[in-house]
């Protein structure tokens, strides 16, 4: 009796631990970690929800040339500093400048690149 309830409790604890280690994020969050951790900084978390309040999709996905596919954009920090991609706004004029490394490179170490935010679905290719 005692043993079986102990088993159930320990099973539940394992379940809780597993749940707590699952990455959530807000729907549409993109983690960029192609180079970040290899270069010794945290992965980048890009929140779509924050950006779409301020810009229509077309600004980044047409004018700035971001492919509409997580992982398809091979963006380097040098390009951003030169004003391409994120650097078109993150230049200290429209948004914070690239000196604020930690604000973008704020991801949990070990988080893989891709779309996050499984409020209802895990997004393309995850099914």
């Amino acid at each position: 009796m005692f043993r079986s309830s102990l088993g159930k409790i320990s099973g539940f604890v394992v379940f809780l631990v597993l749940c707590s280690s699952v990455a959530y994020g807000e729907y549409g969050d993109v983690v960029l970690n192609k180079r970040s951790e290899a270069e010794g900084v945290r992965p980048v978390v890009f929140p779509h929800w924050f950006h779409r309040i301020r810009f229509r999709c077309k600004v980044c996905h047409t004018e700035l040339g971001f492919e509409m596919r997580a992982g398809a954009n091979d963006v380097t920090m040098q390009q951003i500093i030169n004003g391409e991609f994120c650097g078109a706004c993150h230049n200290g004029v429209i948004a914070w400048p690239t000196e604020n490394c930690e604000l973008c490179h704020s991801g949990k170490p070990g988080t893989k690149s891709g779309i996050y935010g499984g409020h209802e679905t895990l997004g393309p290719g995850k099914w």
Partner: protein, 181 residues
């Protein structure tokens, strides 16, 4: 004596009603967003925590939805709750188009109505044409299997725009309705 019984009955009735009201109120969908320090993808030790805005602060004031960001983004834009820029350095014109496309090859599901209007309020023609969808209606072999793999509509739906669990938002019209234009 009778008065006392009546009072007790009245109090019981009021208490019961207020409890049932509370339980009804609780059934209303309550929108919740995880703070970024607990969202599992931000590092709680990062100095960005406390600086970056939490989703709840920005999203709770926008028109509600039940899926995705729990925000009806199309309504938020149309009703002026948000005024996202059309171009990086100016507010320019949009390539608006207000034609509906009906997709009829949907087996037992209702036909799909694709509204150009909602899409051109956010994007350019070139966002989808012709590298994702051919301009000629019906010329692209769209299938639900491919969409679930992230192709066609699945480029955005299931990733950023409302998720693929919301079948009836696209499969929304009867089998007889034809395109509006």
């Amino acid at each position: 004596m009778r008065r006392a019984v009546n009072s007790v009955l009245l109090i019981t009735l009021i208490t019961g009603l207020s409890f049932s009201y509370i339980s009804i109120a609780e059934q209303q969908p309550v929108r919740k967003w995880k703070p970024i320090k607990d969202d599992g993808i931000h590092d709680p030790a990062s100095s960005a925590i406390g600086v970056l805005q939490n989703p709840a602060e920005a999203l709770s004031v926008l028109p509600p939805d039940t899926a995705g960001n729990q925000v009806n983004w199309v309504k938020a834009l149309r009703d002026g709750h948000i005024k996202p820029r059309t171009h990086l350095n100016k507010q320019g014109k949009l390539e608006r188009l207000d034609t509906d496309i009906i997709m009829e090859d949907t087996l037992e599901m209702p036909n799909v109505l694709f509204p150009h209007r909602a899409h051109t309020e956010w994007m350019d023609c070139a966002s989808c044409h012709d590298h994702i969808f051919k301009s000629k209606a019906g010329a692209t072999p769209v299938s639900m299997f491919d969409i679930l793999q992230g192709k066609y509509c699945g480029r955005c739906h299931g990733a950023v725009s409302f998720p693929l669990t919301e079948c009836d938002r696209c499969h929304s019209v009867g089998k007889k309705r034809k395109a509006s234009k």
